[in-house]
């Protein structure tokens, strides 16, 4: 039983990391119809900026503010980069631009910091004993803040006027603008929010394990898959899909018979298999209602 609970707890940490990516992708898609896949590289860059400042000052607060600064910079940079593709309705070109930007950032990180893993914290991390399982402090913060932020975002999107505005921008930007809403400001705000959420994940990964230039790639890919499996317009579906894609592979790997030799390196194989199965049965999203054809 304790093995199950510990695997579940560890998987919740990685699942929450993917969740924040998926939510960020959802928000940005909601206002700009763009899948901002560069978020993986942006999160990594922000984490490296935290690392650089922490090495210099040793202060978490100063390093966090420095990382926040970079998150806002990347938010506005992303907005500037992708806004014209949104206005021209060039969704595919926007995706390509985002992908190119992400690859450029990852390469830049590799050149500046080299590709060996870097630890923000030297030494062994202290763990918090919850009785049936143990987690590191960054792991607890990741789950706690991650789920709290997701609940707040979900509440705002689903239950508040701001959320209605956000969802309306995607459906009819012209109408929303005619009602006095500055949709460009909303988009730039959402880009910044997405970068802050994913930057938080990057920093937590750096604190919990180690930084590598390509660490954001697998997370953004899994988040991207969760977005489409869960339903691009349904945040509840995105949340559920994220945890299905994060938890099920871990349990399959850890409970498989040793003769099958499944291990951590097979994780993405299971993610894609599960995504395929879910898409086959629920092609319009996990909570989609079938639409009666007129």
């Amino acid at each position: 039983m304790s093995f199950f609970i510990q695997i579940l707890a560890n998987s919740l940490v990685t699942g929450t990391q993917v969740l924040l990516f998926a939510v960020s992708l959802y928000l940005i898609r909601a206002v700009s119809k763009t899948e901002h896949v560069a978020l993986g590289a942006i999160a990594t860059f922000i984490a490296y900026m935290f690392y650089v400042m922490f090495l210099s000052t040793g202060s978490f607060i100063v390093s966090s503010l420095f990382a926040l600064f970079w998150a806002i910079v990347f938010g506005y940079t992303s907005f500037a980069l992708l806004e014209k593709f949104y206005k021209n309705n060039d969704v595919l070109l926007g995706l390509l631009a985002s992908l190119s930007f992400g690859i450029f950032l990852e390469s830049l990180i590799g050149i500046i910091f080299e590709t060996d893993a870097k630890s923000i914290i030297d030494g062994v991390l202290p763990v918090i004993d919850f009785g049936l399982f143990k987690l590191t402090t960054p792991g607890v913060i990741t789950i706690g803040f991650g789920i709290l932020l997701t609940l707040i975002v979900s509440f705002v999107v689903l239950k508040t006027p701001y959320g209605r505005v956000l969802r309306s921008i995607n459906e009819n930007n012209a109408l929303v603008s005619s009602l006095g809403v500055n949709s460009a400001f909303v988009r730039s705000f959402v880009y910044c929010l997405g970068c802050i959420l994913t930057g938080f994940v990057g920093v937590m990964i750096g604190l919990n394990s180690a930084l590598t230039p390509y660490m954001g790639f697998q997370l953004v890919i899994t988040g991207f898959i969760a977005l489409f499996v869960g339903g691009v317009n349904d945040i509840r579906g995105v949340v559920v899909a994220t945890f299905l894609l994060s938890l099920i592979p871990e349990f399959l790997i850890n409970y498989s018979p040793s003769s099958l030799e499944f291990s951590a390196s097979h994780k993405m194989f299971f993610v894609f298999i599960i995504a395929f199965i879910l898409v086959m049965y629920r092609p319009n999203g996990l909570f989609s209602k079938s639409i009666r054809k007129s």
Binding site: N10, E114, Y214, M215
Partner: protein
Amino acid sequence: MRKYLVLALSSLVVMGCGSSMVEGDGVLKVGVIAPLSGNAAQYGEETQRILAATLADINANGGYKGSDVELIFEDGKCSGSDAVTAFQKLVDIDGVDAIIPFCSSESLAIAPLTESVQMLAVSATSSNPEIEGASPYLFSFSYSDAVIGESMSKELSKFDKVAIISEQNDYSIGLKNTVEETLGEKVVVSETFEATNTDFRNSIEKLANSGADAIFLNPFPGPNATNLAKQMSEDLSKFEGVQFVSQIAYLPADSREGISELTEGMIIVDSPVLESEEATVFSNNVKTNFGEVSALDGYYTLALSDALTNLVNAANKTSDNSIAMQEYLVSSPLVGWLAEGSSFGDKNFVPGIEAAVFKITDGEAIIQK
């Protein structure tokens, strides 16, 4: 007049082209493919220092037929594809006469190319057993991983249940396969992780839950090995009574900083130790005058020195022609710290090397046998 000038200049050009097309141009250039960036960068940097020290000795003693030997480094990143690119650049653009590859993945990737262009490659650190028979132009002054694998299996066979965690690279997978083939059903869990992975906690939990009496830690030496050990150290109560066994990843003293609780009592199987005053003087000279050497201290310092020394020796005995050097190496006695008097013969690994077994006691690696 102009006609004769053009004729003379043309002749010079043709002679110049001809002399470079005729094998051997009087300058011995040795290319080195090593990981100068990435997780294994420390090994590449130390390789540069050791070879620089050896080169200084060689050139001080006449070099290649009175001229200085030249080393040209390229970054192989311990990756097959990058090694191939580096090989092509060294051969086609730099015109090297021989190559020293570092990682097994680099050596195996360039093996077919060494045969097709007849370029001699002598490694000091490539140990994957697949190097044996890979190319008649590829040799290694390292021991084969099969030697380490056999000794590792011998140590692990003392236990009823063994768990393994390995990084996905040629070196670690080669060792894992040897151990699994030998131990058979004694291996209850065998986890692998990609080199880009940084969170091993679920894999560690699987190891702890396996009920193994011994765990073989098999990451590639470097930051991943440190990261794995740190995450295992977060809760050592899970591993009470479990014997940890590993390879070179945790042998250097600096690789055990901050994880002494985990590594105390660990058994490590690695290259043998050469007890020789001259060898110690050479090793100290490298550290004092060329920079810190910790990961490649001991056997590999001497093996790297032997690789370059034997390449230059073969060239001096024949010419700076790769084919002639290769023929010399397979048929003549070798020189150097480790290989003195032995010969490659029809093998690709230098014969007669056995593994050493260490145990970490009070933070020090003490040789057991």
